[in-house]
Structures are given as structure tokens and as C-alpha cells.
Symmetry: C2
Subunit: 413 residues, 2 copies
Amino acid sequence: MAIVVQKYGGTSVGTLEKIKNVARRVGKVKDEGHDVVVVLSAMAGETDRLIDMAHDLVPEPDPREMDMLVSTGEQVSVSLFCLAAQGLGYKARSLLGYQAGIQTSRLHTKARIKDIDATRLRQELAQGQIVAVAGFQGLDRFGDITTLGRGGSDTTAVALAAALGAEVCEIYTDVPGVFTTDPGVCPEARKMDYISYDEMLEMASLGAKVLDIRSVALAKQFQVPIHVRSTFEDTEGTMVVNEEKIAEKLMVSGVAYNKNEARITVRGLPDQPGVAAKLFTPVAEAGIVVDMIIQNTSADGLTDMTFTVPKVDFTQAMNLVTELATGLGAADVLGQTDVAKVSVIGVGMHTHAGVATRMFNALAQENINIDLISTSEIKVSCLINEKYTELAVRTLHKAFELDRDAPPREETL
Amino acid sequence: MAIVVQKYGGTSVGTLEKIKNVARRVGKVKDEGHDVVVVLSAMAGETDRLIDMAHDLVPEPDPREMDMLVSTGEQVSVSLFCLAAQGLGYKARSLLGYQAGIQTSRLHTKARIKDIDATRLRQELAQGQIVAVAGFQGLDRFGDITTLGRGGSDTTAVALAAALGAEVCEIYTDVPGVFTTDPGVCPEARKMDYISYDEMLEMASLGAKVLDIRSVALAKQFQVPIHVRSTFEDTEGTMVVNEEKIAEKLMVSGVAYNKNEARITVRGLPDQPGVAAKLFTPVAEAGIVVDMIIQNTSADGLTDMTFTVPKVDFTQAMNLVTELATGLGAADVLGQTDVAKVSVIGVGMHTHAGVATRMFNALAQENINIDLISTSEIKVSCLINEKYTELAVRTLHKAFELDRDAPPREETL
């Protein structure tokens, strides 16, 4: 008899009929003798409906009141779920964030979980209750409701699983698991049986949307196994676990892409010590996250500096950088928004320099030019022209044989 | 600089535009230098929408989960109100029942307020905030959300006004105040400037719907003046205050009616000591509230017993009473549902026996037969055939000259 934490997203509880289905599914696990904690999101569309109302009233709504408003969505879900479960004959009880002991920081609309007091949760489980916890919400030390930001229910589920020492945290979603790449772009994409926390972190940060990145980091920290699976099918999904638990490490396990970055190039910058700091410190202070950076030094004491910023910050960044670059004596500043980042990820690659080479060759064969490169222990990313994104993803997926049942492992390269 | 508590019902906050209007109205009072606490109901229709969803899931929903569900309605209202008030430039903060320190009994869906800890409320007011409190809800000692039943927001408002020592508790509604009778039945009905707590209690219990009866009892207990007025007009409404505060006591201040009772008559009951107890104890134990009772003793040792019960309990009561009456040797049991109770109410009547006489004469002149009579210190009620209800109301309204600017006072009869 283990504790199982299950999280269901908004589409999984989007209608009363779907809520009943979730109750049936949860009931089955309870029937098998497990203690079940269910974390629910708001019914699909509800959070947006509430946010729209707020924006109709005031252009920049107060974050505290926004949390008060949107946290009702999850409250409705958990109470309806419990009624559905009771209708099927189960004992079920809903708990809000504060009742589940979820204490957070005070940063409204993007609070962080600081601690969980699972006393009441354990009491309810001991009484044989299925416990439904409102996802996405907690209480700060002033007694005010906070929310954890978009995707926050994943974090709630993982944090509760950690606090309860649950056997597994199952994240139910509308896809069957984590894929080697976006199946919408590459029909040969395959569902993975296993992926390591580090790979999943890279996948999430590089654009795969199946899991919220904070929940993966938390799962890694507390060694909580995550099972990503479909609400609408009964098949096994993808286990997100520690690298050591994966017997056969793939050199490359996935291909990700991200169209949300833009490129800025400063040309003819005098190549003096500290010039990079003078350029990037004010950008960071403006809250703009610079991702890839490359510097080319030319012979005549001038240098070119190229980097990427989020597309939403592009205009602000261009204005700021142009002002700074002019002050530093640069020739000109170029901006480009039709760029994309494609990446290959795999824990097995860190012993194999050959991964980058194979990646560059594959892109070259399709005449895809690489603008910028960045690497980490377990990923290689290339910035390319946006129009080649899908072609690049399919090319790399094939080049690393991810479409095959048994892609190359670290010992085979 | 006084503390003013204002309560707005569901129709007053039924749309975003209406919520903005409420924010403007509240802001005006704040501008005048007062501390304002606003108690809000759920947006019109929202509570019913939530209840309908629950009933779609399970025929008899668990009261605890119902409270969890429906309490979201008021939470949405208060956060939207605060956003609207902030949009107008005011400082505003929403508090849920537990944040406003409202502790209740554990009886879900009809909890009673046991205590209010106004510490946080006072802190927020001291910071210049307009404080919006979610009506209708509180927290029990186990940390679970409770609700106070339909009309509970009135009770929340009066309880907060008592706890804060507010100058007045203003109840905003969709009518301009308390009327001498239902204007829909009697076009000559006049808005009262003042009514005493006791009269208002009788009016409410006899069918006038403008104020929840528990809130009136609470206001009387803590001597909180209530001002019933319209959200949509700027005129003065009706003050509900202590009898001593009303300079000119009307003999009859209002006429009420109630079509929600049914009549049961047991005929030929052996007239023995304890027979009434044998009949009514099991009825009370079944949770059926018996209202008017009359007993006629005949010469041959038999008696007839007539009484009223709520129409919703009529079938159950008939079955129960028939079984009991047969056991007690009664001849037969008759039931009638097309009955109505009309009442005249006034604190000035308790020194004047003439009120009942004038009432009976007025009804007799219209050939309206009286089935049952019950009286209290400040009211006389008659049970009549339902089809005469409107005629009786208009007749009594005229007989006690309530259509005049200066109806008869106690010294004039």
C-alpha cells in the first residue's frame, strides 16, 4: 500500500463528464489498495475567463487580487471532483492550498513553495479519504492566497509527492507521454519510456511543453519519480527519473525547438576589456534574459557580438542595446526575429564529441546555415533561420536515429 | 470619521459594469472620510450555476463539498470589486471569511457565526484600504469553509458591523427599501422611513423577502442600525432600528402575506389530556415546523384540531398525521393546500385590542372567510383561502390607512 499522487490538467477536468472519468480512474487506484492524493487544475478555459474579466476592469490588475480571483478555478475543480467520487461510492475530501499545508513566498502570481505541512493530508488519508488538493495555490505567511504561475499544478503535485514520500507522481495530460520531438512537426516522433530529470529540464527549457520546468527541478531535488501519461488512454507513459535508474543511456534522446528568441548583433565594437560587461549588465538589469552569446574578434581591434533575447523583449532590447553600443563606439546594431533554436539533448552525449559533428553535418546536408551554437553537458543548440525549423527537427530526428526502436546508445558511437 | 459596512446583493454585482458602479458608490463614501467595509454576494446566477453542476454529479451533494464549491462565488465578487476599485484609484483589499476572522459552527450549508476576530480587518482599515469581505462564508474550528445559507451575506454584514462597532450597516438591494406591503400586490404600498427590529422580524418571517431574518435578529441583539436601500437609486431607504428610536409608533406599520403554508385538520379526536402532545411531538421530531394551531372542543367529548405546516412538508405531514390520528381514534384527517396567511404588523398594536377587530371587519366586508387566527404582541395573522390573498392584502392596507402619508398612530385609535 503506497501513496500515489496524481495530477490532472485543465483539459482532463474540462467538463462534468470528464471529471466523472477522472473520478473513476482515481477510484480504480484506490480500489487497488493505494492512498491517493489528486491534484487538479481549473476546468479548461476557466482561468482565462477569470483573467479576461480582471483585464476588463483594469489594465494592470493587482497581483494579490488576481491570486484571490484565479485560485477559485481550482477550488471549483476539487469540490466537483469530490462530489463525483462520492457519487461513485468513494470517500473523498477536497483541500485548498492552505488546508494542504502549502506555504509559499509572498510573490503573488509566481510564488514559490517554501514548505509543506502534511499533517492534515496524512490525517485525511488515514481516514480512507481520497484527497483532492487544489493545484497552483498556497498561502503566504500573512494568510493571503498565492498562486504558483502557469503550470503551477505540476509543481503542487511534485511537492506533495515529496512531502508525503509518495511512490510516484503521475502527471495526467492530453498526450501519451514525452516524445523524442514534437509529433506535430515530425510524424516519426516516438514516445520515450524513460527520460532523466536533466534531459527533461533541457527539453522543457528548450520548448517542450509537457511538464512545467519548476516541477522537474523539484522532482530532481527530492528524487520523486514522475510518470507522464494520458488521461484518455490506459497505456504507460514516460517515466522521468534519475539518470542512474536508466539502464541504457541514449546518446541523444530528443530533439527540441524554440521559436521564441530573437537575435541581436552589434558590429564594430572596440575590443577592450570589460566591453561585454558594459553591454550586458544594463540588459540584465532591465530584466531581459540573454541566452546564446558569441563573439568574433576581427584583426583591426574591433569585434562583433551576437546574442539572443526573448522575442517579447526584442524591441526593448534593441533600443537599449543601440543606445549602449553607440556610447561604446560600435558601428551598427542589427536585429533579426525570424530565427529559431534547434537542440539535441541526451545524457549519453557528454562523453562523445561526435554528437556536435553529426548535428552540424546533418544540417549542412540540407543547406541549413548555423548562426550561433551553444552547448552544455547534455545538449547542443544551433540558431538557424526560422523557416528551416521543421526541416531541421526532422533531419536531426533521423540523423540520430530516434525514429528507430533502438536508437544508438553511448557505447555504439 | 465612522466605520460604514455596506452589503451588496447578487443583482447589484451581476455584471462587470455593475461591479464598477458599486466601486464608484463605495468610493464616494470613502472620499467622505469614512472607513468602508463592503460585503458582497456572488454575481447573480453564479451560486445557482455551481449548485446545478453539483446536482448533475450527485443527487444529494455532500454539504462540506457544497460549501467548498459555492463559496467561490463570493470570492470572485470581492476580488473583481477590488480590481474595479483600484482601477478608480482607491486602495482596496479583499478578505475571505477566514481572513476576516469569521468563525462559525460546523453545520455545513447553514452554519452560524460564533465569533469574529476583527484584528486583520482593523489593520487593513488603518492602512486606508477599502476592505471587501466575501459574504455568506466562514471557517469552522477544523479549518473548513462553511456557508451561512441563503441570505447569509446579510448576516455577514450585520455581524461585521457589530464586531467593528460600525455606525450603520447599509444593505443595498434592488428595491428602494422596506414597503408597507408587497408593491406588486398593492400599488398603494409606501416605502417606510423607519421600522423596528421586531416589526422587521415579523415582516421577514411572514414573507417579506427584503432582509434575511437571522440578520435582523443579530442586528437587534447588537443594536446595529440597518439601512435598507437601493443600489440603483440615490434616495434614502428604510432604517431598521430599535423601537425606542422611532418617535411616532404606528399601530400597524405593514401588511405581509405568505402562501407557503398548508392546512391540516384532524376531526373527531377523543378529547383526552395529552392528545395534542401525542399528535405534535412526532411531527416536530420529523423536523416539520407547525405554525398556527386551533382546537375546537365539541360537546360529545370529541375535538377538532387544525394547524398549518410548510407546503413543502405537506405530503410527509399528512402521512404522518393520518397514521397518528388513526392510532388515537380520530374520525378523519383533511388537508388543504390552497390557503394563505395574511398578517398585520405594528409595535403600536400591543396596547390596542381594536386592531384585531378592525382586521376581521375589513375581511368580512369583502366576504373573505377566516379559517385560523394567531396573534402575538405585534402582529395578527389570519389564514384564508389562497385565492383571496391579493384582495385581502389591499383591503387591510387600506383599512389601516397605510396608503396615507400619516397613518394612524397608537394615540389615535
